[in-house]
Symmetry: C2
Subunit: 141 residues, 2 copies
């Protein structure tokens, strides 16, 4: 009696799938580090200001990797290090990130870099194009 469409229960709406992928406090911050702040190593994420614990960071990286949002590989320059980067799927999170940042800047007005926010708000497509370009260039590491 398998009748129940159980596993599907929460995925009727794509929003749900998205929230399952990174509907938590940390995952998107890691993505932001990769996408906008140029961070690439475990250590750099750790020091990225918000104070994530090593076990949590480790867990989120694994989770993001399992979902094909980030990928890791050894640093070609220094075999001891590991580098992370966004996959194409991860890069496609950029519009979400941008909208979240714009909303946050608008309503919570943190001490944020004004110029970048401005660029993001006024010329979204241009900003996104730049992000994609940088990503493509970095890809050919």
């Amino acid at each position: 009696m398998p009748a129940k469409p159980a596993a599907q229960r929460r995925s009727d709406c794509p929003l749900n799938a998205t929230l399952e992928a990174f509907g938590d406090r940390w995952s998107l911050l890691v993505v932001r580090d990769l996408m906008l702040l140029g961070r690439r190593t475990f250590r750099e994420f750790l020091e990225s200001g918000e104070g994530i614990a090593t076990n949590i960071l480790s867990d989120r990286l694994q989770r993001l990797e399992a979902q094909g949002i980030v990928e890791k590989r050894p640093d070609p320059a220094d075999a001891r290090k590991v580098l992370y980067r966004l996959t194409a799927k991860g890069l496609d999170l950029a519009p979400i990130l941008v909208e979240m940042i714009v909303w946050g800047a608008r309503y919570h007005d943190t001490a944020a870099p004004p110029s970048q926010i401005r660029a993001m708000t006024r010329h979204r497509e241009r900003f996104l194009a730049e992000v994609r370009k940088r990503w493509a260039e970095a890809g050919r590491s």
Copy 2:
């Protein structure tokens, strides 16, 4: 010895402020219910498919209200009922929602309403304009 700028610690980036506002599994689903599915009462949110628990729903509604994202008021037609609706600040979450839905539909391809997704993806501004219009009309209840 209050010296520490403690409460500020996590809000250097607007993304952080946003994640603090609704970086959890449920808040955005409630917003979606209000914005896209026309739900307005506690009960309707409950039955909205994903199976949120009453205490969680209660908590999220309070939290969203405290942040000025939703507001409540008695149903003018039936004083026993309580109606929720988005504030202007809440309405401004629409672009985030749209991008999250688009991303989810693209990569996790849930059994989702194809036509609406298509409209959302291809004509984002038009779609957003409609959402805003509906909201404005409903506002003069």
